[in-house]
Symmetry: C2
Subunit: 124 residues, 2 copies
DNA sequence: CGCTTATATAAGCGACCGCTGATATCGTAG
DNA sequence: CTACGATATCAGCGGTCGCTTATATAAGCG
């Protein structure tokens, strides 16, 4: 399934938004989604499966619960795909220039300020 | 139709990639897509319609041809949606910081260097 | 041990999406 | 005016996706 197909579903997008604020158990996700979309637990579980199998989320068992977290790599792929269109709203850069600028920005900000540092969950 | 649904289709993504290099006639798009995906002219026309109706492309008649061009606004919406996940690969920024940094970056680059300036096509 | 809670899987069904083939519209050339 | 080329639209069909109900797996708890 392609990256954009995964994000094509509003429920999956919402789940990712929820996970963006920190890891959540399947049940916690269920509760919110059920309230907002009115769909069943298996439906949510199937969406979580899609997110899992396509690398958008990682799972960590904790007792009987399963804690889900965002895995950002596929989202970064989208960001990269968007690069070729960035010059349409940052007109003075071609694709290479944008890449350099993004790198420079990151470096500049990394060495100056800092905020809360949640490390990006990498799975081996 | 939602932004991500539009990009869910590989043909539509490819068409946008083609249009990213400059405007193309429906026929020109057809030719490439037909070669790459082996689908018919009506199929391509329907995809162009989806792109048009969802604001991803603009059309300009030139004689009997119709010239298509990228309209970047929906793509920017995706970029904005991605903002909430950017801290996963630029860990030292929260969402607000990222927004500020992006604005600052743009301003900084706008007043310093410049490259070839294809103006972003705005439709009134 | 059973019983409950938490989550995942299976089977089946309806809706939607994208394709094709046929046709309509529109511009242009002879 | 007619014919042709370029593009859009229509009708219909098949496949896929997401939902539901029912069930399986597995952990916690008395």
């Amino acid at each position: 399934m392609h990256v954009f197909d995964v994000l094509g579903d509003p429920v999956r997008r919402r789940i990712l938004e929820l996970l963006a604020d920190g890891e959540l158990s399947s049940g916690a996700v269920c509760e919110v989604i059920r309230e907002e979309f009115g769909i069943s637990q298996p439906a949510v579980s199937q969406h979580l499966k899609v997110l899992r199998e396509n690398g958008f989320a990682t799972v960590r068992p904790e007792g009987a619960r399963r804690l889900y977290a965002v895995n950002s790599e596929p989202l970064r792929d989208i960001d990269v795909w968007l690069d070729r269109f960035r010059r349409f709203w940052t007109p003075h850069l071609d694709a290479l220039g944008t890449e350099l600028a993004r790198g420079k920005r990151e470096r500049r900000l990394r060495e100056s300020g800092d905020a809360e540092g949640r490390p990006p969950e990498e799975q081996p």
